[in-house]
Assembly symmetry: C2
């Protein structure tokens, strides 16, 4: 078994092409993207937990409950197509147009949007460039696609793996956007992943759910959850492995590689969080339940006081301990241990005689790790989070609807 | 029945005096305060929900479970006396010293601290100024007391009422500190309230719990909960009313006035939140349960995106709707209505044709109101919150432990 990181993203998979074009939804740059598969696919997706969902999500959720063979994905930035007056109509027209031009059925087209909430989507602009998008489909188009889904993202987020399972070669490629919008409203997270592993839809869904649970669901930029978050995966099933129908060895190997792809992309989203200067990770171990481990990880990583301390390069264990205390998780103060980097800073309900010089130097790092050992059980959870800087406030306060 | 706002705070009550002095725990200004009652009292207190509690809270919680006649309150700023190595010893020595000098029993002295977490408390500095504090006790000392509990607070927070219930006169006076520390660690909230209403401890506790639930528990500066939060009330019981032993008419009247005092002080804390430029209120009505109303009010008022939008004077209803959506409360999108000021901005799952000029002007106000009508039931909840500005980040990032 071998895995190699390779250049590229979704087009790493043989039958898949992509494109991106400017439709006039953003001020400039690419703002509509298309992914297309020559071959039939097995596809799956997971969506935001926000009960208020954008029109494309309402459409996609229904779509994915009925079909699996998605052949095209159309994504626009610059408008979230959420809470507006023409969302359904816009989705309908976009789906129809691309299905026609690509010779697909309507139910083979998946849609996604990111951008400002509540503005009607000028979908005719997307339809007007549909020919360019279809004609532009190519292997090298994946970079244009990556750009077309960006909003306040400052760099493209892509990753690809070439994997070998006892001689069977397969690929996983992904692209993502995160953490901001041209008109910042919600930190929408979108990710599109392709693969050629031969797998049933049920098992692909299961693998995607586990991967998202261990990656995208464990990141925090500002604690808000978007109306548009979507992670989509499609497989051409062209790899030579026997179709995965259960949790066998190759399923485990594939899922671990998928977790790797999703984690890499999720961490890129945190690194590119609005105004972020650092990537921090909090790891909770020794919890008496996984719920408790998660409560603490979320409490610490969403704490504004912790986030601003990380920005200020301050090894402020008091804020970490405080946010553990109000997490509502079961803790025993006498057993609690907190480490910043390799340094134990809090133990038995009291601060330790920690090495201030080490901590001062450690907090200069671009990546910071906080380890919390509850000493109560075997359950663990981790979260990646960004700091909160002046620029976060600037980006989010200086926009006027 | 009549209520009059009067100048002053805790010393509005006849037998009560206060003082403040500089012990050297802060760089300058007053940092230790004392409240003292000549008369026996009936007292009660509520404490932080954070499971990690500072040493004075551990002491006070035990104290208040055993006694009611608190005669003196000693408070220091500059050090939270939390998660350090000498917390218990410090409390013990402070209590003993002030009990001796005031001719009280140890169990008549209540203590509180606010400041940096995790540093040993140099309690000898407090003991060294105990004579000055005792000798300084006076009616006019309440202003020094108010200053002595301030950390990054930028103004004194006091309020007092003279109330008349069908000829029976009584008083309620309060002082509070909020929202920050000389070494910002946790936004500790402290409040001390005095009254002369004649009341049993059980009913005073009940009134305080209701008042805190409707005031101090409904404010959000940054969503963090301190290890030191304390609200304390003492009554000399010198008013001429028959002792309140149940929820009669004067109990209701007193409790309403107490809610008024606590709400006024709580709102001052939000107004003086670290870096705050505005006081916002979110009112949730029409919820199918009070839990749902609270979930939504907390979700909106803790949303970083909403807080930065308020700072940016942006009537960003999309962020409000988004934070309602991820609150985990039961909502029906078709029935949801959101108002900013008097303007309906979101209805039936879509934005309205709102008056942009009105909203633009409205967001310039120092006090902003957001009304959310779920259209599902009769339950309500409200929260007051501050915006998040550049200065919030500055205050919380530029301190180094």
């Amino acid at each position: 078994m071998k895995t190699e990181i390779v250049k590229g993203s979704v087009c790493i998979v043989n039958a898949i092409k992509a494109s991106g074009f400017f439709a006039g939804l953003k001020k400039d740059g690419y703002d509509v993207g298309l992914i297309y598969s020559d071959k039939t696919t097995v596809s799956s997706a997971v969506f935001t937990q926000n009960v208020i969902k954008a029109a494309p999500l309402v459409y996609d959720i229904n779509l994915m409950s009925q079909t699996s063979d998605i052949r095209a994905v159309v994504v626009n930035s610059g408008n979230a197509n959420a809470c507006n007056r023409n969302g359904e109509k816009a989705v309908e027209e976009i789906v129809k147009t691309f299905a026609d031009k690509l010779n697909l059925k309507n139910n083979q087209v998946f849609v996604a949007s990111t951008g400002v909430i509540g503005e009607d989507l000028d979908y005719k602009r997307i339809i007007n460039v549909s020919d360019e998008l279809v004609q532009g489909l190519s292997k090298s188009g994946c970079s244009k696609f990556a750009k077309s889904i960006m909003t306040t993202d400052t760099f493209e987020k892509t990753y690809a793996l070439k994997c070998n399972f006892y001689g069977t070669e397969f690929h996983i490629g992904g692209v993502a956007k995160g953490a901001g919008m041209i008109h910042p409203n919600m930190a929408t997270m979108l990710s599109f992943i392709t693969t050629d592993i031969n797998i049933s839809q049920a098992m692909l869904s299961k693998a995607l759910k586990e991967a998202v649970y261990k990656s995208f669901n464990r990141i925090s930029v500002d604690g808000d959850t978007s109306t548009n978050d979507t992670v989509f995966i499609m497989s051409t099933c062209q790899a030579s492995n026997e179709k995965i129908e259960n949790e066998n060895e190759i399923y485990r190997f594939f899922t671990d590689q998928l977790i790797d792809v999703c984690t890499y992309l999720a961490k890129l989203i945190v690194k590119d969080g609005e105004g972020a200067t650092k990537l921090a990770e909090v790891v909770v171990v020794g919890a008496s339940s996984s719920e408790d481990a998660e409560l603490i990880a979320r409490s610490v990583s969403n704490s504004l006081l912790v986030k601003t301390a990380v920005f200020g390069k301050d090894p402020n264990w008091g804020r970490i301990v405080g946010s553990i205390g109000y997490s509502k998780a079961n803790i025993s103060l006498g057993r609690l241990k907190v480490y910043i980097g390799d340094e134990l800073v809090f133990s038995c309900g009291k601060r330790t005689n920690y090495n201030r010089d080490y901590l001062k130097k450690y907090m200069d790092n671009e990546e910071i790790k906080i380890l919390i050992d509850l000493g109560l059980g075997i359950h663990t959870y981790n979260m990646w989070f960004s700091d909160i800087s002046y620029d976060y406030v600037k980006i989010n306060a200086e926009y006027h609807t």
